[in-house]
Amino acid sequence: MMGETSLTFIIFLLAFIVLWHVVAQAGIWPSYIFPSPVEVLSAMLHGIDDESFLHGTIASLKRMAIGFGVAVFIGVALGAAISQSRVLERTLGTLMLGVQTLPSICWLPLAILWFGLNDKAIIFVVVAGAVGSITMAISAGISNVPPIYINAARTMGAKGWSLFSEVVFPAALPTMVSGIRQGWSFAWRSLMAGELLYVSAGLGQLLQMGRELNDINQVVAVMIVIMSIGFLIERLVFTTIEEDVRRKWGLVKHKT
């Protein structure tokens, strides 16, 4: 079934590229406004060849790893705390909901004032972008564990830490994993926005450089790279984990 989905997508992609090529060849717009796939491909090969894409990707992923790691750590701690206390839920939980509505890039000016124009500022934006949704998912996951599991476990002698680690945590895991995946995609967006706005290596900077050089081929090529990395990590890593968990937990809905 997976193979069939991939095949459908590949056919669609090929058709899309052919259509793109035809429109570009029709000459409705000049090629510096509407590049052809051939030119974009050559820009991409060039970027791969001179390793600028590789270095950009490494710089971006390094920031992601740190920022997202910190966000997961803080989010799990805050989420667990909020789920355990009504007071925290009404105070910190509500604040988190509010903060979550703030587009993460709005943190950048503050981050620059605090940390200066360096990696720390960008990583801060990544953390700020992801931590809210992770916190809320962890807290919701724990709060929504069916009471019957907890009651059953308690009558079998589970309490304290063992109740949490053996029952609450696994019961909440599917929601937590979804929240962490969502946090990842927020983090990725925040990172790209941050890298666009100020210069210091990374894929966002390559994109910005393309604009400054009026090189639309590079702009589109980098966009494709950013999209592909985001898509691959989300698909290959997070969706795989999420589906594994959901299948094992018996939560998979069979599509007809």
């Binding site: 019957i148 059953a152 476990a153 009558t155 079998m156 002698g157 053996e166 029952v167 696994p170 937990w249």
Partner: protein, 277 residues
């Protein structure tokens, strides 16, 4: 510890294993308080199979939850084996009406869960779990996840999980309510056979009167809200009993149903009266 039950009689000459003394419970609702239990007093002998029947909402599940230590009464006390109940404990395991099995564990891991909490080491845990999995005839499904099992199989695992704790008292909250009639009949026979071997004290809550009569040494009938003890019926008949087609049991069932009908009419009249106000 085996007991003679071939004649269907209760074990003789023992003090009450479970002593429910004047238990009151109310719930706070949006529009005032709802009295769930009013002055419930019941003594249950060691090794007795007690069934509690009553209309839905009569507080019978609440009472079970109080005995389990999951809910606290406003007034009154419950003593199990001489000790007052203040929190849940593995001496009083509950089998719930819906499957409370853990979906992230396999059948055997679910059965091992309570033993793990008790600190039983892994090999011994597996041995005991397998023994009870065999007892409920599910040995082939050792490594199945819960969602891979049918409703009846799930309740078998739940029963094995409760039994594996080897509790003094087994509390069963409408455990077969969601099953089809055929599986339920089968369960009734098997549960009695298992109980004749294990000799546990069982409190079994149900709204199904013929089920209660089939299983219980004694059937306690509750009134509708607030729950009070309305009447008690003793059932003396050899085991394992069939849940259908036994004239003597059918006669007791229809007597209880008669009482229930009176109770139902009282409730309807009150509801009508309340509706007019």
């Amino acid at each position: 510890m085996k007991k003679e039950r071939k004649d269907g009689s209760r074990p003789q000459g023992m003090m009450a294993e479970i002593e429910i003394r004047d238990v009151w419970k109310e719930f706070v609702m949006k529009d005032g308080k709802l009295s769930a239990l009013e002055g419930i007093s019941i003594g249950v002998q060691k090794g007795e199979f007690l069934c509690i029947v009553g209309p839905s909402g009569c507080g019978k599940s609440t009472l079970l939850s109080i005995i389990a230590g999951l809910t606290r009464p406003e007034k009154g006390s419950v003593r199990v084996g001489g000790r007052e109940v203040s929190e849940p404990g593995p001496d009083r395991v509950v089998m719930f009406q819906e499957s409370a099995l853990f979906p992230w564990l396999t059948a055997i891991q679910n059965i091992e869960f309570g033993l793990k909490m008790k600190g039983v080491e892994e090999k011994e845990r597996r041995r005991v779990a397998l023994k009870y999995l065999n007892l409920v005839n599910l040995e082939r499904f050792e490594n199945s996840y819960i969602h891979e099992l049918s409703g009846g199989m799930k309740q078998r695992v739940a029963l094995a999980r409760a039994l594996a704790m080897e509790p003094e008292v087994l509390l069963m909250d409408e455990p077969f309510a969601a099953l089809d009639a055929q599986s339920r009949d089968q369960f009734h026979i098997e549960l009695q056979q298992i109980w004749m071997k294990t000799g546990q004290t069982i409190i079994f809550v149900t709204h199904n009167v013929s089920e209660a009569v089939c299983l219980g040494d004694r059937v306690v009938l509750f009134t509708y809200r607030p729950g009070r003890v309305k009447k008690e019926f003793r059932v003396v008949y050899p085991r394992p009993r069939e849940s259908r087609g036994v004239p003597k049991l059918a006669a007791i069932t229809s007597r209880i149903l008669g009482e229930l009908r009176v109770e139902f009419e009282r409730y309807m009249a009150e509801a009508l009266h309340d509706g007019r106000n």
